[in-house]
């Protein structure tokens, strides 16, 4: 089955396509990584760097930036309301999906993902440069609002969701889901007091959605994992979570764009909020 079988195939670009369209008018390539210095070591020619914390998160409140700050991030990176942003990054595009999701919070819908992300581009021996682009400042009108209600879930939303036993996907590792570990393998930080999962959540580690090269699995395979494996129905109200919302952004992207579920929210507070929250119920 080809990529065109996805619900929204237009949101994915291949490394072949991007290599041939680096200077396509009306687009901006955006790198977003876990490794904070990776962009500086070399990036896809023309790509700008948007950092998940420094650029997208409020420095003083655990929240995202406000619409005015978002407009400024876009303006300084040469992004207009009509610019198509192609996101890519390390870790199988965790942070690329996170940045894409954050752009969607502000109503920027012209977004795409480089299938396979940075690792695939590098492994294929494609061009990298240390030269940072200097895009002309763009005009980006301040969005009227940040559309949290559409694609973002907060603690209270998630608690109500859990009590109503609505579909909820825990995308962390099986060890985190069971409570055997209170951190993701290789990331012992971001401490939480308790291990386990939100009552009613099903365990579907994010990695099930990707092939070994970081590209997304075919639709049929994804349907077997999510639609059949989790019994998700069209129109279902679905919440995905992980530890801080980046791995669940990846799953949110899969459910929303590749499988076409129209009502998926990312609980970005995730386990670092739930696992520490006084009186939050958990299951093991």
């Amino acid at each position: 089955m080809s990529e065109t079988a996805y619900a929204h195939p237009e949101v994915l670009v291949s490394t072949d396509w991007l290599a041939a369209h680096l200077d396509e008018p009306g687009q901006r390539i955006v790198e977003s990584n876990e490794d904070v210095l990776l962009y500086d070591t070399g990036h896809i020619p023309g790509a700008v760097h948007i950092d998940w914390r420094a650029d997208l998160q409020d420095a003083l409140v655990r929240d995202y930036i406000d619409p005015a700050a978002f407009a400024e991030v876009c303006a300084k990176n040469g992004i207009t309301r009509d610019t198509t942003c192609i996101f890519y990054g390390d870790k199988s595009n965790w942070w690329a999906c996170y940045a894409l999701w954050a752009f969607r919070l502000f109503g920027h819908t012209k977004v795409k993902i480089l299938n396979g992300g940075r690792d695939k581009w590098v492994k294929e021996g494609r061009a990298l440069t240390k030269e940072k682009p200097k895009p002309a400042r763009a005009e980006y009108p301040v969005p009227a609002e940040r559309k949290d209600a559409e694609i973002r879930a907060f603690f209270d939303d998630t608690l109500a969701h859990s009590k109503a036993r609505k579909p909820m996907i825990d995308v962390r590792s099986p060890e985190e889901f069971s409570g055997d570990k209170t951190h993701m393998p290789e990331y012992p930080q971001e401490g939480v007091l308790r291990g386990g999962h939100i009552p009613g959540a099903k365990s579907v580690p994010w990695k099930k959605a990707v092939n070994d090269d970081g590209t997304f699995k075919e639709r049929k395979e994804l349907e077997a994992i999510y639609s059949e494996g989790c019994n998700l129905q069209p129109g279902d109200d679905i919440i995905a979570y992980c530890r801080i919302g980046e791995r669940s952004s990846h799953t949110w992207f899969v459910l929303t764009y590749l499988l076409g579920y129209s009502n998926v929210r990312n609980y970005d507070g995730s386990w670092t909020e739930w696992g520490n929250r006084v009186r939050a119920p958990i299951e093991r």
Partner: protein, 168 residues
């Protein structure tokens, strides 16, 4: 650390006399402490690109080898310790390809900065110089691995010292 005029945390340059960092490391700390954020990044990249130069060379033998992949790091890290006849340490380090750029940079900095120290000097050295080198913007919850290589170097020194004590 101290509080700045608007209440922000600022990193006060350390005095080598007060803190007793090795001279080579002190030079590196002083260099980074004086740099603006962007130049810190450029220098960290330059150090990260030197990391392979600190791998073991053919024919070298070591007083202790500690190669492992554990929870604190995204890939395997090998620490190779040599203690010369005068009791000074020399490190070689191998890094798996998934290791983050900051870890690569700290590897270069520490292999250089700790070269020629004694075992005790390495073990007693505080790690509070790291934010001065890395810079406030890059020290993150998820980037605590900047401390990882130093922890592993200290661990190798501790094992070596304990072996010596046990053999005495």
């Amino acid at each position: 650390m101290a509080l700045g005029q608007s209440g922000e945390i600022v990193y006060v340059p350390l005095s080598r006399g007060d803190m007793g960092y090795p001279p080579q490391l002190t030079k590196i700390i002083d260099l980074f402490a004086a740099l603006p954020e962007e130049e810190k990044r450029e220098n960290l990249i330059a150090y990260s690109e030197q990391a392979k130069k600190h791998e073991p060379r053919p024919g070298e033998t070591f007083s202790l080898e500690d190669i492992r992949k554990d929870e604190e790091c995204t890939d395997t890290v090998g620490v190779y310790l040599t203690v010369d006849e005068s009791g000074h340490v020399h490190f070689r380090i191998t890094l798996g390809e998934k290791v983050q750029t900051l870890t690569k940079a700290m590897t270069s900095i520490l292999c250089r900065g700790l070269d020629g120290c004694t075992i005790e000097e390495v073990l007693e050295m505080p790690s509070d110089f790291v934010p001065q080198i890395v810079g406030g913007q890059l020290v993150r919850i998820r980037s605590q691995t900047v401390y990882y290589v130093l922890t592993r170097m200290k661990s190798a020194c501790r094992v070596y010292r304990d072996r010596l004590r046990a053999a005495a």
